[in-house]
Symmetry: C2
Subunit: 391 residues, 2 copies
DNA sequence: CTCTTTAGTTCAATGATTGGATTAAAACGA
DNA sequence: TCGTTTTAATCCAATCATTGAACTAAAGAG
């Protein structure tokens, strides 16, 4: 990619090779255990080409050859898998009072995780990020890491600058990519909104579906839109902000200046206040015991979500919704009213699949690491793994 | 593209050539009058490669060489342009009581247009489409046509079947692509929703911007979303249906079963009823003369549009709105309240550009033809133009 | 033990891009 | 007017990825 024209690059022989290399790598990732001959049939390349490309992938430590298992007839082929000892990636989730990180290998298996309790509200980003860097270094120990991904509770520009962070106002304006890049000697890519990254995690390591809206009601209401297996970020990278979809023009005033935003009607604080509960645990406990007030609060949140998600689904034609964070915990009482509410609102009449995220707490950290893994698998680039040092 | 794996095709040398060929063609289309040497510098290919590829494009009758105009120094290069006498395309807009068509050449210039008044509600689609085929044949006369595109007021599946058509209920279920394909001996591609195609027309032949929502309030309220210069169709092809975004949960009942859909509050019938006007002309006339009732009706439509479009823009992060059809006619009184209404609702705080479509009546027909042209320019395929005959 | 079947490798051929050399055409300066 | 400079476009041998056919490898069947 040495020259571009309006985003389109020229193609050369090298492009062809890289493309096909990545194509094979992707296939090995999707269906581990395939042989060279099977891959050749799958993708439509010659056995010869597949052989040379696979050799290259093995040389790059991206793929390993497993013992051949005897097939039905003929010479058994050696099965290919992603190299679990090849590149590793670290994903970090910066939250308001906690920072967690996980170490993933190429296959997506979690090798280790660590988290620290740290109030990110009070200190400066620079000091907090030094703790993050230390956490990353501790986690990596002496494994070779190809890159670090970061999930942040706020709007982040493509180059890593915090644009808006209602819950971490002191972080606004600081460039996470730059600061972390100075502290760590591994590439820091893909710093993005927590909800967006959680949506990707759900796609890669959760439900596996490829078209859906993910709603994570942590603080505020965040959304991530996955279309055709890709995160939809919009022209400027701020897509998915569904927290301020208007639900009721006569609803309560929102911090954004309008009335009846989704966040005001179905956000965590709103639901807890409505149920007069002081914590998630209390709310869940009371719902579990049939407390009318609590159930009513959840049901009213479901109604608001149905309106907002209905708008999103109708305009984007998505077949599924995924619930994360706060909403995942309320799932037993939220899913059914939400599903029936949505059913009424979908113009195309197509059924909408309402799913609950199974990833729990670590969704965003997983997704952040996944961004790095995905970049490697998609491009087929030989990762420049290195031992992490904090400077 | 002989084999595919999960949508990804293998690359070969031919792929490279086609890619670069299309890349050059696209550049010539975007910036007519470039020379081979300029193109080489623009896209990053060698002059030698550009020469062979351009020769190929000229041989395919896609590009023509114009007289060299003396530059400042050195040998002047011959300017390249899309071949206006190369492929032509026909776009058809099927409307409730009218069918219009236009003939476009490769450069996007309108060579001719024709339309017939015909009530598409009463007859069968098959009979109506015979009239359409005749119109297309008349329009093409003896020019060589590469393909026909169709815009239809309703939801159409990717293979050309009418899924929903509130204003042409008798058409539901019939396969436009199949019927027209039988009647005409040119390829019929890209049968799509009128609003979607009008949005594309706006992008190609109108404002030229690449990221926006187009709203055309003809009958019902249709939307088309353009992201990065591409129509966003969604996983199943029904994206952009903003007519039923909920605006007011206590609003009037809509045909879809919900309350306060955009269509009920800002649709043409709603606005005319609100103003107690019997036609667009009357409404415009009265607005023009400061009639309070008329102005109020428009202002209230603007408020509803601001709510619905705000939701779409926030979730998709689009920087502009384009008004077409009914809304374009009301623009003088609609734009300002809509713009201020939107400004209040955009979370990112970015300014939203509210534009009025300049294409008028023919937007959809233009866009339908543009689909064909665009296909040729994008793929660089040598079009198999032929003289149209109705069978 | 030989035959059949399937996996994987080797190698000459094809074809697209590349880069240097060459030719073409115009303007500038003397 | 004529040579020099500058830029455009073409020619051509070299490079390199894929291809396809021939070949070797390994396992089961008879």
């Amino acid at each position: 990619m040495d020259s571009r024209t309006a985003g389109v690059a020229t193609a050369s022989q090298l492009t062809v090779r890289q493309h096909n290399r990545a194509l094979l790598l992707g296939n090995v990732a999707r269906r581990p255990g395939r042989t060279r001959a099977q891959l050749a049939r799958d993708v439509g390349l010659t056995k010869a080409t597949v052989s040379t490309l696979v050799d290259d992938l093995i040389l790059s430590a991206l793929v390993v050859e497993r013992e051949p298992t005897a097939g039905l007839r003929g010479r058994p082929g050696s099965r290919l898998e992603l190299n679990p000892d090849g590149a590793a990636a670290i994903g970090v989730e910066i939250d308001v009072d906690r920072t967690s990180a996980c170490l993933l290998d190429l296959t997506g298996a979690v090798r280790d995780r660590k988290s620290i309790a740290y109030d990110n509200r009070s200190g400066t980003p620079r000091v907090a990020l030094r703790r993050v860097a230390q956490l990353v270094a501790d986690l990596s120990a002496d494994t070779l890491v190809a890159g670090v991904g970061v999930a942040f509770p706020g709007l982040v520009t493509v180059d890593g600058r915090v644009l808006r962070a209602p819950n971490l106002p002191r972080w606004e304006g600081s460039n996470l990519g730059e600061i972390l890049g100075d502290l760590l000697d591994v590439p820091v890519h893909s710093i993005d909104n927590e909800a967006n990254i959680a949506a990707l995690a759900e796609h890669w390591y959760g439900s596996g579906i490829s078209d859906f809206v993910h709603v994570s009601g942590e603080i505020g209401v965040g959304g991530g839109i996955i279309v055709n297996g890709e995160l939809f970020v919009g022209p400027r990278g701020y897509a998915g902000e569904i927290g301020h979809v208007p639900v009721d023009p006569r609803g309560p005033l929102c911090g954004c200046g309008n009335r009846g935003c989704l966040e005001q009607l179905a956000g965590r604080t709103a639901v807890l206040a409505h149920a007069q509960a002081s914590s998630d645990a209390e709310l869940v406990f009371r719902c579990d015991h049939g407390d009318r007030e609590a159930l009513l609060a959840v049901r009213s949140a479901a109604a608001a979500l149905a309106v907002a998600l209905g708008a999103v689904i109708n305009t984007l034609d998505l077949p599924a919704v995924s619930l994360g964070g706060f909403y995942a915990r309320l799932a037993p009482w939220l899913v059914e009213p939400l599903a029936t509410g949505l059913k009424k609102r979908i113009v195309s009449g197509a059924p909408i699949d309402v799913r609950v995220s199974s990833l729990g707490q670590d969704a965003a950290a997983l997704g952040a690491a996944g961004q790095v893994i995905n970049h490697i698998v998609r491009t087929g680039e030989r990762p420049a793994s290195r031992r992490i040092r904090v400077s």
